[in-house]
């Protein structure tokens, strides 16, 4: 089945839970990611949406793009509201006020709302083990307020609060490894996804919904406006992020790492970075430093995945 990807799109549901007419920028990878995720999730859901790009462009006052129950929360309390709704529904079902319709709770937020501001609420919700799915749409900066750096901004990227110039080379810290933080909470399901691999993304969202307990999915959403790439390249840039190993796709089920897509050789990061304005100022020496770090991280991840596979095999053989 080498032409798998050519025949499969037809099998995906045509039903949209996310109406067109939203005001996302031209070529927005986040709008695509939301659309695909909600194709997989379906209608039986309550959505908790933190402030951020998604909230802004889908709900300009007299209009809404959502065809599912939706609530807007602040940056910092998305996971808290999600856990409140989940606990309240549980109590009401127990008291017989409402029927158990197996409604899913899905919290969505951007990288600022997840990795910076909402982290402690999320950490609490994961620790208490509420049954919900948290999707972080990671576009690597605060895009809706004008491209300020967040802790998910990659090293060297130029943003308005970490501008490249004579005395600064852009973002000075490495990207926070949020999936690893989620894994450290011992939750049943953690995954990374990218809308450039739509079937993989939808599969992971479905898996995360079915899991009992908290699930966390981080979705890389290409932002042509903030990253400074052409609007029609947004799928290609996402694909290159995966192929260069900058954003590897993997899932962690009950602490067991598994690579979703594994490449025999990684592409050089310059292929990914040369398409974007935010990395244009980087000197070859710095690129080399980043390349080394990327390979190091990727190898580390592969080792974890290999170790888990080895353990599984030995258990089976015993």
């Amino acid at each position: 089945m080498e032409n798998y990807s050519i025949y499969v799109p037809k099998l995906i549901t045509k039903k949209e839970n996310f109406a067109p007419g939203h005001r996302a920028c031209i070529g927005c990878g986040e709008a695509l990611a939301v659309r695909l995720a909600f194709k997989a999730i379906g209608q039986n859901v309550i959505v908790i949406n933190a402030t951020g790009c998604v909230e802004i462009f889908t709900s300009q006052l007299p209009y809404t793009s959502w065809r599912v129950p939706w609530i807007h929360t602040l940056f910092e309390n998305t996971a808290a509201v999600a856990s409140g709704i989940e606990a309240a529904r549980k109590a009401m079902i127990r008291k017989g006020v409402i029927k158990d319709t197996n409604t899913k709770i899905v919290a969505i937020a951007g990288d600022g709302g997840t990795i910076d501001i909402g982290l402690q609420a999320l950490s609490g919700a994961m620790e208490r083990g509420h049954d919900f799915l948290y999707i972080c749409f990671d576009n690597e900066a605060y895009m809706n307020t004008g491209i300020q750096r967040s802790s998910a901004t990659p090293f060297g990227a130029s943003t308005t609060t970490s501008p490249a110039g004579k005395s600064s080379f852009g973002q000075f810290a490495w990207k926070k490894d949020m999936p690893a933080i989620a894994v450290a909470h011992n939750i049943p399901y953690v995954a990374t996804a990218c809308p450039s691999y739509p079937f993989d993304l939808m599969e992971k969202v479905k898996k995360g919904l079915e899991v009992k307990g908290p699930a966390y999915i981080q979705v890389l959403s290409v932002c042509p406006t903030g990253w400074g790439c052409a609007a029609d390249l947004s799928i290609k840039v996402g694909r290159l992020a995966v192929k260069t190993g900058i954003f590897p796709l993997y899932e962690v089920e009950n602490g067991k790492y598994k690579m979703s897509i594994d490449f025999p050789g990684l592409r050089p990061i310059t292929e990914y970075m040369s398409l974007q304005k935010r990395f244009r100022h980087l000197k070859p020496k710095m690129l080399e430093q980043i390349q080394q770090k990327v390979i190091e991280k990727y190898e580390e991840l592969k080792e974890k995945a290999a170790a888990c596979e080895y353990n599984c095999q030995t258990v089976l053989e015993d």
Binding site: R23, I26, T58, L61, P62
Partner: protein, 96 residues
């Protein structure tokens, strides 16, 4: 709601700014943001639907003959469909 954004007054809004009609953003025309429009050469089309899956607007639908075509009421002209099409059916033309 039925009314366009310009005709609405504050008196017609629900208490708390609640929107009572799900998905009513589909009334809003985003097609006039476009500077390029997709044009199609259906002789080469496989009807694979890749343009539909990658469209951030969700505005690509099948027409009567089963070909996938963008709804120009919503299409913002990003050019993703043209870039991702495996048989190069779609070319972007400058909007007049």
């Amino acid at each position: 709601m039925g009314k366009s954004e310009n005709e609405l007054t504050w008196k017609e809004l629900e208490v708390g700014g609640i929107v009572t009609e799900p998905g009513n953003a589909s009334q809003y025309k985003t097609g006039d943001w476009r500077s390029q429009r997709p044009t199609y050469d259906f002789n080469k089309c496989l009807k694979c639907g890749i343009c539909q899956i990658y469209c951030p607007e969700g505005c690509v639908n099948q027409n009567n003959q089963g070909y996938f075509e963008a709804d120009l009421y919503y299409c913002k002209g990003c050019g993703i469909c043209s870039r991702e099409c495996p048989t190069f059916v779609i070319t972007m033309k400058e909007e007049e």
